[in-house]
Subunit: 336 residues, 4 copies
Amino acid sequence: MSVSPLVRNEIAHLAHAELFTADLGGSLWFFQTLLGMRETGRQGDSVYLRCYEDPYHHSLKLTAADQPGLGMLGWRTASRDAFDRRAVALDKAGLGTGPTDGDLGVGPTFGFTSPDGHPMELVWDVEKYRAPESLRSPILTRPSKRPLQGIPPRRLDHVNLMASDVTEQKTLFEQTLGFGTRETVVDGPAEMGAWMSVNALGHELAIMKDATGSRGRLHHLAFWYGIPQHNTDFAEICREYGVRIEAGPDVHGVTQGAFLYVFEPGGNRIELFGNTGILQFEPDYETRVWDLKEFATGAGLAIGGTTMPPEFMIYGTPPTAEQAGMVTGRTVGALT
Amino acid sequence: MSVSPLVRNEIAHLAHAELFTADLGGSLWFFQTLLGMRETGRQGDSVYLRCYEDPYHHSLKLTAADQPGLGMLGWRTASRDAFDRRAVALDKAGLGTGPTDGDLGVGPTFGFTSPDGHPMELVWDVEKYRAPESLRSPILTRPSKRPLQGIPPRRLDHVNLMASDVTEQKTLFEQTLGFGTRETVVDGPAEMGAWMSVNALGHELAIMKDATGSRGRLHHLAFWYGIPQHNTDFAEICREYGVRIEAGPDVHGVTQGAFLYVFEPGGNRIELFGNTGILQFEPDYETRVWDLKEFATGAGLAIGGTTMPPEFMIYGTPPTAEQAGMVTGRTVGALT
Amino acid sequence: MSVSPLVRNEIAHLAHAELFTADLGGSLWFFQTLLGMRETGRQGDSVYLRCYEDPYHHSLKLTAADQPGLGMLGWRTASRDAFDRRAVALDKAGLGTGPTDGDLGVGPTFGFTSPDGHPMELVWDVEKYRAPESLRSPILTRPSKRPLQGIPPRRLDHVNLMASDVTEQKTLFEQTLGFGTRETVVDGPAEMGAWMSVNALGHELAIMKDATGSRGRLHHLAFWYGIPQHNTDFAEICREYGVRIEAGPDVHGVTQGAFLYVFEPGGNRIELFGNTGILQFEPDYETRVWDLKEFATGAGLAIGGTTMPPEFMIYGTPPTAEQAGMVTGRTVGALT
Amino acid sequence: MSVSPLVRNEIAHLAHAELFTADLGGSLWFFQTLLGMRETGRQGDSVYLRCYEDPYHHSLKLTAADQPGLGMLGWRTASRDAFDRRAVALDKAGLGTGPTDGDLGVGPTFGFTSPDGHPMELVWDVEKYRAPESLRSPILTRPSKRPLQGIPPRRLDHVNLMASDVTEQKTLFEQTLGFGTRETVVDGPAEMGAWMSVNALGHELAIMKDATGSRGRLHHLAFWYGIPQHNTDFAEICREYGVRIEAGPDVHGVTQGAFLYVFEPGGNRIELFGNTGILQFEPDYETRVWDLKEFATGAGLAIGGTTMPPEFMIYGTPPTAEQAGMVTGRTVGALT
């Protein structure tokens, strides 16, 4: 990694994400009834939700829209000074869109886009979640009790973005925001994917080549169980309650993450993450490079017997015209 | 085992149990809100519940009473003829209490008591559970969808009875009802415990010496997860929602069962069973005999590091006068 | 089920199996080094192995041969009388091949074939395994200590046979040997598969239509973990040590079994069974019938996201001429 | 946390530990035969071992000695500059013991002691582990294949030190080495324990009050499974092969870590860590403070039913004169 020490440790973690959904009611059923996330606010066409170990007001904002896709990604900086420094750097990179007034539970932010056009923001001022008495857990590091509803994930984990140019995207996150690149996939000279992190996680941000040539699309947003069995439990729930499973439960070789990919009714691909994947502590870690051939047929995509369906490589949100109707997150009449 | 071939295979399995509860509302909160059991009927002071893989109308009947304890155990016979034959045999043993009209979802039964006085019945005619459309599972061997509430067990598993005379109790079940004895614990010549089954399970019936000299008490009723992680999940729920955990999650050496013992608010000890334990298929299986000393300090009670609390050996329901208030299943104000 | 009470409970369980292997060294590496099974004897071209909770001398006999396939299946009867009665019945059905002298650890048997020609035998006299002092477990129901080698399964679980005529095969096992049929798959009037058992297990015997028109072939032999995580552990081992994974870990809707299918180096398909599947205790259980379409695309073959590869439906051992070289159980140089 | 930004991110992680053992053969049997760690070197009275995902030459050095205890803890810095800066700071704090020539696989170090006298060193130059061809994994982030021996942990996780003065110890690690304090336990004004980390882990260093008044003792060293089932698997192995289990498997409320404590034959307490515990990403995280009473009887020490044995609070290595013989890691004759 050629990341300057001056840039490292400036971003702390992925704090929140906004998803557009073409079926807000269906999406709420998915995230609240099946995944047990709790609502913490409503405003306009948006509903705010959090997992029981998310530290802030919300980690997910669902907003009704014509098309599914990514509305916003919020990266929390390591300090107020880091916020200021990164804003300057993003402006210098020509990607800054300027300060905003923030949102429910979120103070002033600095907006920017990824080189591919994904909407993002830096944030320092956030509202820490304080549970009401009835939801307070005797486990002090847990901001709220484990829900009794569905198979509840513990926190927002990571995001996977499709990009027209993986290298350009990766370089911005390395050079301007201080991400370390843990693993990449290459097809000859071309970079096809990258897994990046600002902390010990195997990735908080992944980038995959968008073979359709589209720009700024979302591949998936991931929530964390940390416990392998819960991926199996949720797959069973999806099967019984009519949510379409795309792949898994299985384990990726890349990141060593235990995955389950499903489509929420609003059309977005959601991953449930059933372990911690590989944690990385070496300060001079060298990026691991997969060859695309080995990646696709070897341990890269799946350690077990899973063959990823072709749509996994091309479907993103918003879908292209050809992809409209490619996935259906909810079977008719499945809402019970 | 000295069980006559004529007696074997006459009892099919444990079909239902009735528990008395001193706090019906608290017990319903425990079994419905935390364990996700579904109500299938109400009558008088009783509520009928089932787990999602229980085959019949109900597996648990909760009845309001002054004291916790066992109301009834229903053993389903292998056939109508077996029902008739076992009724005759129980009458001959002096334990029959005669035919009954049955109950919600239960046809005519033949009542009897164990030698120690535990209320029991034989049943052949039962109402098979048929789920309404919305609860029907695409998994055909599953009578109803897995609930989205709490950490739901799959079926009633077994019962553990305290008895003033273990050998007398065991002999009746061997000779008159055809149970096989898988394991016993002895203290010199005295039998202190026995684990018995009519099928491949390690036990559907356990008997433990009641050191208080009481008769006809219940040690615990057990429900089946089959998945070790779910015992850990439920322990976490109990801790956060104020249910008292007595011991576990750990694994018994006896039966190899993954256990979690908790007290439901009504005062009864409930076990959650997180694996299948040892399955037994040998037709000429020889009973394994534990010495009490090795049992208590060796692998018998726990393979892991658990030391069973002293109350595990003496508390049963109904509690003795000295045991009143010994356990509290619910922390005040914990109902949320 | 139309099984006569006179036939029920005559067969106790699947006691042993013989596999032919085209690579005895490779097969031994698979079963001993990766699966931790222990050798209990050698004779001629055969090696005898057992899992640590198998009750008898061996559960698996590996025999060097030109082609992989099934050498023998040994069904233990419920008693000596049942042995005699079933032998008469098999002779009457025209399938008996007469008494044999037995084998290492196996007393006299009565040989027969399935209607499709699979070699089988009834056995009553078996040698119970007695561990040497150093392998004796403090867990009394465990015949020997859990091995420290590989990811060891606990016992032989079940067998899946391909057959040219599923109904003919099923009927023999129902009428002559007393198996209950738990689930079937039908394509219009044609039976495509059946899952059968003589005890509480979801199946000890499965039958699948052989689309190649071959007779007497083996689909797979299964060993039992009972713990879901161990299927994931073994998949990882297979990936790292060069064993080809066909499908899984995932869970079948049929039998609710947690499966992992791999090819052992000798060419046979082996399943690892990571839970207990559905247990069945109802004496008047009604066979569940899957429609082939729902079975293949719905929950039948996989509750999770697995798509079974086409070879799963057609490959059996011995392979047909077209199937030679279709699977390779071992990557060259992988033996370490 | 009042840690200056100048001090943060200077230490990367716990890189290696040396344990003294009074039974080197027994300790090697424990770490190699039961835990599957691989030897990477031998020198003098020392053997060097690593887990299969440890990044460097070794994570554990076992050295024969009269008494068990901690020989050395190696903290890797975030950079060469950080190494120099921290060495100066430690000298200034009066705790530096000066540069050393390093060890097998370890370059020059800077030695120091904790305020309580625990031997430690900073290190930047380390030998990255490069597996021979036969041990190379197709999973690129995994430095070597998962072993086929025992129940192998993946990496060194954390250390727990007993100290005569918790606050003094904690303050040094906060102020001089930049550790964040995630959780503490207090008894009125007195600090009884602290859990500290330099990264997202819930702790890489814990400090517990030494009630015996001894100085510089080790409470335990922990290795990481990350998978809850593996703690249960290893408990079973310990029970069958004669290793004394102190407590667990269960889950601490503090750190949310899934624990199993056992005594290795050399006399040291070893923890196996079966999940990831709580991960912490908030840059302005506020230390959680447990009251000793709630900690001991509430969720702090165990979420499940475990009561920690009294020795857990007082036994450390080297043992005091009174503690000699308090634990026995190996049952006589258990080595098989």
